[in-house]
């Protein structure tokens, strides 16, 4: 293999040779630069190949023929090879990207670029501390030079601020080096590490100075104003190098110093890192400038890796996996995003909406923010999982919590940004796409996915990119050019086929969920045939959600479960975001969901206690005092999906604003993921106590309150789909309540709700969606009298509301009947009161739904409306049939589950004798009820028709109106604020306290961030002061501790 020294030599040589070229030979110079970079990449890649494939040992490179203490030595190992490859690649790609600029500025700029890359490689390779200093200074000088590449004139002052701080850093570094040398008698890093004992005491000022100087290059909070200015003003291609390559190199330098300092210094690294991570993410919240935002994010991510460096004592052999995963995910994503930012004309975040004209670039953007947020299947996800597992295993909970909090903040602003891209108005200036600028972006995307595969392979868990459902979902990315109906058919066929192939593998409980997902999903997909065109972005997102759901019920271990959870979250987020006005709602959805996901992550990590594999079934083995905490974390996480009260504010908007066929998917099917999680949790962990409080009792209260408040909020809602969404909160409350009862019938009731809610809520959402499609509004009071125009939608709604309200003979009654029997065998009584109250309230909003839309006065503009489109009606009719079948024969689905539940709750099952279903307390016979009701109803109806056979059909205004006539349909249709007396009596209960709490919290975060970022007042001197103050404060905190 070519010696790694040639990386440096090639760069230096080429830079030197560039000086001889005439200024006019710019193309030649550029070719030479590229050639040198390609060669450097070739060397690094070769070494990576050697280490990975051949498994070679690290190679020491000696200079001037002496062994280490007497001469500088370099080392090439796997880490070094990978990092230099990263540096060189980003250098090469940025050079490509910079083609125009470099050609315009000439050979000097190319030389500086080469030197910069060389210096960074040198930092990675060298094992000599003073040599490290030299490369540091080289990197600093080259950086200051490259900053000038920018067209932005403000870059000049940014460069100068950097120089000031770099000076201060070099002063500290030099002092540190010389005294460390004095103490150990060597400049060799490994030598220092072996020799120095007093350096490891943790209080050595010499080592402290060295370390803090290196850390300062990592832009720790708050001594990082200079870096932000550079990020904002420098050329994006340089920022890509500065973020990806410099960050990686300096982090590795910090790692080398920690190698010298030893374990005593780890907490310092962790402390600085985590503070930076959280603070930078917080300060990024109010940012509007894209590059500055990315700068904050870079700083944060670097801080995170620094924190991980400080955790190497517990990471053990997973250290490289974790740190590498985070670092590579960050570097690739950040470089890619900076390159993308060069394609965008405007500097405000909403200007990125220009990307919308290029689906490929949107995909790139999605890839990058998914990598940054640590979503599957990218390396950051695996790294995060391992990190959480090990941190929790060692009991470093506070650190884990801070990391997750910071990550949530970061996901918040990244996804908000994505929302701008998808939803904001496109600016006039289009994306400037030249091939040499596009190539680096594409390369970053490819690298991201490749690393995702690699990290999946190394993870020790199942590689997510090999999971069939996910592959199926991703394959829709390649099929985007097909018309929607073909993709729809493929999706339906794929899901049904998967079900047919796998249905034998599920136990009865999972079978119910799998039927809802894999058969219920395709039924809703029938409505998607209505959409024409290509519907770009819909199928990958929807299938990602379904893949996640499928993998969720198939998961056996915590890793698979969590990965599936993240997938379905992301997929559904993209789906929800497609709605016309759903930008803010999709954002709150993803934030709540990721928050919940992090709780699940933390819960699983705590539960695993450091074990690399953790079966879901092992949750049952947990003991006090850990078990209740795990229970709380997991339950909270799952309840973000079931939208339990307090965590519900995302749901109405997300479900209400979604597209017609998306609402039933995310309501009828997606909500069940949370219930499934709770089922798994309760099935394994059962009842848990914390400080003497029975946690399932808390769940009971949460379920009951969700049911009550969800229903209450629904009755005051004017928007049909939002009303249904609020109703979902209530229905999920019932289901959570049933599960929390922890008895046989409670669970059966929850499952009954799972099935029922899927059927009738999908049906109602489709029906409301079809009506909204025709009327062009979702405000119910703008509709009215549509019964004759849309009779099929009306029938679906009618059947739906009878079923939801639990009135016999439809299937909702079964749920209520089981509910009563279940609470009779429970020893808790008070929460039932709330649930009793919630029940009749459902009538209010259900009546309102059907009345204000279909009954009452028809509006003038709706007189020529047609029935909803066929493809939207078809699934509704299927649901009507399903409801009727399920109403008459609930045993079809429930009987097997009833038997299955016997192994968890042997007591209190149901008896299925003939058509009668009986419990210990009561009985019902759905067939007899149905027949009786139909006979009575039918004969009375026939009688009324007979006696009224000559009735005169009148028009809508032929009503008695106190001798007068109505004025207009709008004033005659009593619909708006329908339950005004109710609002008067109980309106205080639906004051938006929860919304106010969460918006207050986010406002507080924003205000705090906005206030603290004024720290960075733009004055280079202040930044120098920040740096010095940072050093002093950290020193005193550190020695004081």
């Amino acid at each position: 293999m070519v010696s790694a020294l040639y990386i440096l030599i090639a760069a230096l040589g080429a830079a030197f040779f560039l000086g001889f070229l005439k200024d006019g030979m710019r193309a030649t110079a550029y070719a030479l630069t590229l050639a040198a970079l390609v060669f450097m990449n070739f060397i690094s890649a070769g070494w990576v190949w050697v280490f990975v494939v051949d498994g070679a040992a690290p190679v020491e490179i000696l200079t001037s023929g002496f062994p280490p203490p007497f001469a500088i030595n370099l080392r090439m190992g796997l880490t070094e090879a990978a990092l230099t490859l990263l540096v060189n690649l980003s250098g090469l790609l940025s050079a490509l990207y910079l083609k125009d600029v470099l050609l315009a500025l000439g050979r000097r700029s190319m030389a500086v670029l080469l030197i910069a890359v060389m210096a960074l490689c040198g930092i990675i390779l060298t094992r000599d501390i003073f040599n490290l200093f030299v490369f540091f200074e080289l990197a600093a000088i080259a950086t200051a030079g490259l900053i000038l590449l920018s067209e932005d004139k403000r870059a000049l002052s940014a460069g100068f601020k950097y120089m000031i701080v770099a000076q201060a850093i070099s002063v500290l570094l030099l002092i540190g080096i010389i005294f460390s040398y004095h103490a150990t008698g060597t400049l060799n890093i490994d030598g220092m590490a072996e020799a120095s004992t007093e350096l490891k005491t943790g209080a050595s000022i010499a080592f402290f100075l060295m370390f803090i100087a290196v850390v300062a290059e990592l832009k720790p909070f708050p001594a990082n104003g200079w870096a932000l200015d550079i990020y904002e003003s420098a050329h994006p291609a340089f920022s890509a190098i500065f973020s990806a390559a410099s960050g990686a190199a300096f982090l590795f330098a910090a790692d080398k110093l920690l190698h010298i300092g030893g374990a005593a210094w780890f907490p310092l690294a962790t402390g600085i890192g985590i503070v930076t991570f959280v603070a930078a993410n917080l300060l990024a919240l109010p940012q509007t400038n894209d590059r500055r935002l990315l700068g904050y994010s870079s700083i944060a991510q670097t801080g995170l890796v620094l924190a991980v460096l400080g955790q190497q004592d517990i990471l053990g052999d997973r250290y490289l996996f974790v740190a590498g995963g985070l670092l590579f995910a960050h570097s690739i994503a950040k470089a890619g995003l900076y390159w993308l930012s060069g394609l965008i004309a405007g500097r405000e975040l909403p200007d990125w909406a220009a990307l919308r004209s290029r689906p490929l670039l949107i995909f790139a953007f999605v890839t990058f923010i998914a990598m940054l947020s640590g979503l599957p299947p990218f390396p950051g996800f695996y790294a995060k999982w391992e990190l959480a597992r090990l941190l929790a295993g060692e009991g470093r909970i506070a650190l884990l919590a801070l990391i997750l909090f910071g990550a949530l903040l970061e996901a918040g602003y990244l996804f908000r940004w994505f929302g701008y891209i998808i939803k904001r108005e496109q600016p006039a200036q289009r994306v400037a796409c030249t091939p040499h600028k596009l190539a680096p972006v594409i390369a970053a995307v490819v690298a991201g996915w490749a690393l995702g595969y690699l990290w999946g392979d190394l993870s020790g868990h199942a590689n997510l990119l090999l999971a069939v459902p996910l592959l199926f979902a991703l394959s829709f990315l390649l099929l985007e050019w097909l018309p929607a109906w073909i993709k729809n058919t493929l999706a339906i066929a794929g899901m049904v086929a998967f079900f047919v192939l796998t249905y034998a593998e599920y136990d009865p409980l999972r079978l119910i969920f799998s039927v809802i997902i894999l058969i219920g999903g395709p039924i809703i997909f029938l409505a998607s045939y209505h959409e024409h065109g290509r519907r770009i972005g819909f199928y990958p997102a929807a299938m990602l959600m379904y893949a996640g759901l499928t993998l969720l019920i198939r998961a056996n271990d915590s890793f698979g479960f969590f990965a599936a959870w993240e997938m379905l979250t992301v997929g559904s987020y993209f789906l929800i975001l497609r709605g016309k006005h759903s930008e803010p709602h999709a954002l709150s959805y993803i934030i709540f969901s990721l928050g919940g996901a992090f709780m699940i992550l933390a819960g699983f990590a705590l539960a695993a206690q450091g074990a690399p594999q953790f079966d879901l079934a092992s949750l049952s083995l947990l003991t006090q005092p850990l078990a209740p905490w795990v229970f709380i974390l997991l339950a909270l996480g799952f309840m973000t999906k079931t939208a339990a009260i307090g965590l519900h504010i995302w749901l109405p908007g997300a479900h209400g604003e979604a597209e017609t066929d998306v609402s039933p998917m995310v309501s009828g099917i997606l909500l069940k993921a949370g219930l499934f999680g709770l089922i798994v949790l309760l099935m394994t962990m059962g009842k848990q106590q914390l400080y003497g409080i029975e946690l399932t009792h808390v769940l009971l209260w949460i379920g009951a309150l969700s049911a009550l408040l969800g229903n209450l909020m629904a009755i005051f809602e004017e928007d049909a789909k939002r009303l249904l969404a609020y109703s979902s909160i209530g229905q999920m409350g019932y289901a959570v309540f049933g599960l929390a009862l922890m008895n046989h019938l409670g669970w059966l009731m929850a499952l009954m709700f799972v099935i029922n809610h899927y059927i009738y809520k999908s049906m109602l959402f489709l029906s409301a969606g079809g009506v909204a499609k025709r009327t062009g509004t979702r405000d119910m009071y703008r509709m009215g009298g549509l019964i004759t125009l849309m009779p099929l939608s009306f029938i679906a709604t009618l059947i739906g509301i009878i079923a939801v309200s639990g009135v016999p003979p439809l299937s909702g009654f079964g749920g209520r009947w089981i509910f009563y029997n279940a609470i009779l065998s429970s020893d808790v009584r008070l929460p039932m009161v709330i649930l009793f109250f919630a029940g009749p309230i459902a009538f209010l909003y259900l009546f309102r739904l059907i009345h204000t839309i279909f009954l009452g006065q028809l509006k003038d503009e709706h007189r020529k409306l047609k029935e909803a489109p066929f493809w939207i009606i078809l699934p509704q009719m299927i649901f009507v049939v399903l409801l009727l079948v399920f109403a008459v024969a609930p045993g079809l689905a429930l009987r097997r589950v009833d038997t299955y539940l016997n192994q968890f709750f042997p007591e209190g099952g149901l008896n299925w004798a003939g058509t009668t279903i009986s419990s210990n307390y009561g009985y019902w016979n759905p067939v007899a009820i149905m027949i009786t009701v139909c006979v009575i109803f039918g004969s009375l109806f026939a009688w009324l028709l007979f006696v009224n056979r000559k009735a005169q059909k009148v028009k809508q205004f032929n009503i008695v109106f106190a001798g007068e006539r109505p004025y207009r349909p709008e004033t005659t249709h009593f619909a708006w604020n329908f339950f005004a007396p109710y609002r008067k009596a109980l309106g205080f209960m639906v004051q938006p306290f929860v919304t106010r709490f969460w918006s207050g919290l986010t406002d507080l975060l924003h205000a705090a961030a906005d206030l603290s970022r004024r720290l960075y007042n733009g004055n280079g001197q202040t930044y120098a002061f920040h740096f010095i103050a940072f050093v002093v404060v950290v020193y005193f905190l550190w020695t004081g501790v």
Binding site: I787, Y820, F847, T932, L944
Partner: protein
């Protein structure tokens, strides 16, 4: 399962008895209320005459399909409610169709008529009908709550949801009635009873001049006849549930008539004394006075 076809004529017989009793009972209660106001009151057969008159009207109008279905739902609800509950304890003949379901079925079936009627009223396109429905539904959410709690309490007390078994448990003396074994629950239920009888103080739903009698404002002729029939059946059916749950049921028709009459009288008794509540007032009244009793009853069982 073998179905005993004789149950159908038996059930129709019950229905016949209850319809007639209901007509007479309604008139009787109206008469009593009139006498409180020192009026003579309507003739005892007046309701029959009104019914025939309404069937005898020659013209009728319709506002659409749901306009037909409203009264049908309404009366089906009443008839179903009656037939799903055994009328006479210990009598096979008058056990009706109670094999189809237990107490919960009956309780939820009450809403069948309410919902259907609300739909029919909505179809009439009349804003007053909708206002009436809005009031009625609002009020029913809290007025039914004490009953639900009382039923839960009683079911807990007897550890069964079967009406027959609950009645069986109360046999053997008046002191075995739920009225005496669980007085708090009965108190809650009887307050709830006031709310469901459409009498003062809880009859703002039907405010005759403000919103010309609310939901049925467009109904007339045979539609109204159906609803009148329900007006005869439904209170009795509902009182039958109360009687069975709280007052020891009835093992023969005379007891049945007497108990139903007395329970009905309770709502008339309150009704003639008190003026009308607004909706939000009645909601608050039930939450403040009746619901705590219900909660107390389930805690004390």
């Amino acid at each position: 399962m073998e179905f005993d076809w004789m149950k159908i004529p038996y059930a129709l017989l019950t229905l016949f008895i209850v319809v007639n009793y209901g007509f007479l009972l309604n008139a009787l209660i109206q008469k009593i209320a009139a006498r409180v106001g020192r009026r003579y009151g309507i003739p005892i057969w007046q309701n029959y005459v009104d019914l025939i008159k309404n069937y005898g009207l020659r013209s009728s109008i319709t506002h659409g399909a749901m306009f037909y279905l409203g009264p049908v739902f309404r009366l089906s609800g009443g008839v179903g409610l009656l037939l799903f509950v055994p009328a006479i304890y210990g009598s096979y003949m008058f056990s009706n169709l109670s094999f189809a379901g237990d107490l919960i079925l009956a309780l939820y079936f009450i809403f069948f008529g309410t919902l259907g009627m609300a739909l029919g009223a909505g179809e009439s396109g009349h804003p007053y009908a909708a206002i009436g429905v809005s009031r009625g539904l609002s009020q029913v959410t809290t007025s039914e709550l004490p009953l639900a709690l009382a039923v839960f309490s009683v079911a807990l007390q007897y550890q069964t949801l079967s009406v027959t078994e609950i009645v069986a448990a109360q046999q053997g003396g008046i002191l075995n009635w739920t009225l005496f074994t669980n007085p708090v629950a009965v108190a809650a239920a009887m307050l709830s009873f006031l709310g469901s009888m459409m009498r003062p103080p809880f009859d703002v739903v039907l405010a005759p001049q403000e919103i010309p009698i609310g939901p049925p404002t467009e109904y007339h002729s045979s539609y109204l006849a159906l609803m009148q029939t329900n007006r005869a059946i439904f209170p009795v059916a509902k009182i039958v549930i109360y009687m069975n749950l709280f007052f020891g049921g009835a093992s023969d028709w005379p007891t049945f008539f007497l108990k139903v009459f007395l329970i009905y009288l309770w709502s008339a008794f309150v009704g003639v004394v008190f003026p009308r509540f607004r909706v939000e007032q009645s909601i608050r009244w039930f939450l403040i006075w009746a619901v705590p009793l219900g909660i107390l009853s389930i805690l004390m069982v």
